[in-house]
């Protein structure tokens, strides 16, 4: 018979390296047509980080995402970056990119201030314009300011900056210190059906409520969460590299290494928790890794809820779940006989 269960699991996860310096640098150029170019040494590995960085630079310059072209991942042409690791790109490279854009913007303000008859500190950017605070009708198109900066002032608006998360080394004896600049938090709840005659687990639904600070791009955040959950489902139920006693892999191929297909994935519902980190770019933290952290725990707790067995070894294959159910029944039978 199929038995239904639900399980909850929450988690915390840090952004960036453990204490170790993991800086990012960035260069932002504001072009004469009001678009911008970002140079970053990070690598697009599928997360959409280049789009997120474009959005951060665009926000800082008051232009649209499409106006920012990102040049990335070339040690000859792009500045130093610790890379696509440790869920750090939005926070660390994002901060560096925002700071670089801010510096380019400062040049724009310096150039625009006399043209608008105010001090640079009285300017802001919005909707492709440099405008006077409180008097948005007094404005110049950002492209015109950039052109002026280049051809009149002789000062092309280019900014470069770097960022490294603030940490404090850990005491070697007690491990006390500040290993990370910030953390994200999340909860996932899984609903499963467990076939108590075979041990087969079907994950029906996962509700995921994730903190990433400000979601720079909610669609990409959802994409990360959904993908992380698929990795979590595999970790919970299916995936394992197996070895012979003499240390060779038994299943090094996708026929025998079992990862989730579309038929194995549950319905996923993603919520983004309202949150703002003042140390992140526009309040953002990050989202890459944390998405797969609590899935297995939630599923295993749901299995426990459904059939009352605690599987303590991953993956919780049907055979492991079945063995646990069988052992529990044998135990109960013994108690009844004894009683």
């Amino acid at each position: 018979m199929k038995r239904r269960g639900r399980g909850i699991a929450c988690m915390w996860y840090p952004i960036g390296f453990t204490v170790a310096a993991n800086p990012s640098a960035a260069v932002v150029k504001v072009n004469e047509d009001g678009t911008a170019t970002l140079l970053t040494g990070t690598v697009e590995t599928g997360q959409g980080s280049l789009t997120v960085l474009a959005q951060i630079v665009a926000q800082e310059l008051g232009i649209a995402t499409d106006d920012v072209h990102v040049v990335s991942a070339d040690t000859d042409t792009t500045p130093m970056d610790t890379g696509a690791i440790a869920s750090r790109t939005t926070y660390v490279t994002g901060n560096a990119s925002r700071l670089a854009a801010e510096k380019a913007k400062a040049i724009l303000f310096e150039v625009a201030a006399p043209l608008l008859g105010v001090k640079p500190s009285q300017l802001e950017v919005a909707d492709h314009k440099v405008q006077v605070l409180g008097f948005p009708q007094r404005s110049l198109h950002i492209g015109d300011v950039s052109e002026h900066a280049k051809s009149v002032n002789g000062q092309p608006p280019i900014g470069s900056a770097s960022f490294n998360p603030a940490t404090v080394a850990l005491d070697p004896e007690t491990g006390q210190g500040k290993p990370f600049a910030t953390y994200v938090y999340a909860t996932q709840i899984a609903e499963v059906d467990v076939d108590d005659e075979t041990g087969e687990v079907e994950v029906l639904r996962i509700v995921a409520s994730h903190d990433c600070g400000t979601p720079i791009n909610p669609m990409l955040v959802e994409g990360q969460v959904e993908g992380g959950i698929s990795m979590g489902v595999g970790f919970a139920l299916e995936e394992e590299i197996l070895f012979t006693p003499d240390g060779r892999q038994i299943n090094p191929n996708l026929t025998n290494y079992i990862m989730p297909t579309s038929l194995d994935m549950p319905k996923i519902e993603v919520d983004i928790v309202d949150s703002y980190d003042p140390t992140g770019p526009f309040g953002a933290k990050g989202v890459g890794e944390p998405t797969c952290v609590s899935t297995a725990a939630a599923i295993l707790n749901a299995i426990h809820d459904a059939v009352g067995v605690r599987v303590t070894t991953l993956p919780a294959t049907a055979e492991r779940v079945y063995a646990a159910i069988k052992a529990k029944r044998a135990q109960e039978a013994k108690l009844i006989t004894a009683g």
Partner: protein, 296 residues
Amino acid sequence: MKAFEFVAAKDAQHAVALLAQHGPTSKVLAGGTDLLADLKFSSHAPPSVVVDISRAAGLNELKMTEEGLSIGALVTHTQIMQSPIMRDQFPALIEAAHTIGAVQTRNLGTLGGNLVTAVPSVDSGPTLVALDAIVTVLGPSGRRSMPLAEFFVGPRKTALRHDELLVEILIPKASVGKPTAFLKFGLRKGQALALVNVAGSFWVDWGKQAFVAPRVALGAVAPKVIHATSAEAYLDGRAISPEAMVEAGRLAAGDAKPITDFRASAEYRRDLIAVLTKRALEGAYELAKAKRAEQK
């Protein structure tokens, strides 16, 4: 892939002639889903010649004849799934075809090719064995036929001689429309290999409410697809009841000789056989009842 020659056969006769011509180092290629995967990562010497029969004429038809349902060896799993005859008479074969690989492999893979692999877990096997299917092979000296259960000899071994070609699978008239259910248990839902697969099939004597000509066929739990003979003997003529189905499952588990490998233990496979056999029999009974209701 290591080098080999490629020759396309026009029809079955031509294929057999080519096999005779090129000798034992030639290999037949149909859908290619197993053969090519093997050739790429196998340490064995490559075949000298690959005889492609994928477009050999006359082997991809699925039709009702005087003898029963004739399925050409090159009928793909997708063809089976989309066949109205299958839907009406053999839904279990559609189930079985559906569990093979994924759409892409089902579009390429053929029933004949699947059976010829003779892997113990062959998904097309149990249902056809339960339906007493007969296979026909063509060789230099003509055609010969045998029950599918005998065609399977052992793991990756069939009764097929090197210069022979499997050409037809026949489900005899006596099995047409026989209520049958197929169940497969794999390690995941998509693209799964079977830990155990089971087909249960029987006619119902409605007067006596009894099993008639019961068949239980098991895959992946012995060197080849087998009949669970003691379960079949137990059910034959017995009154239909949930208890009987449970007992048949228990007996079927005893009939199997599962192994322990990295996918599952023998013990687990045995317990799965009991459950799946029971459920397959329940499924077949449900079908029988539904069919009867329809006829009334």
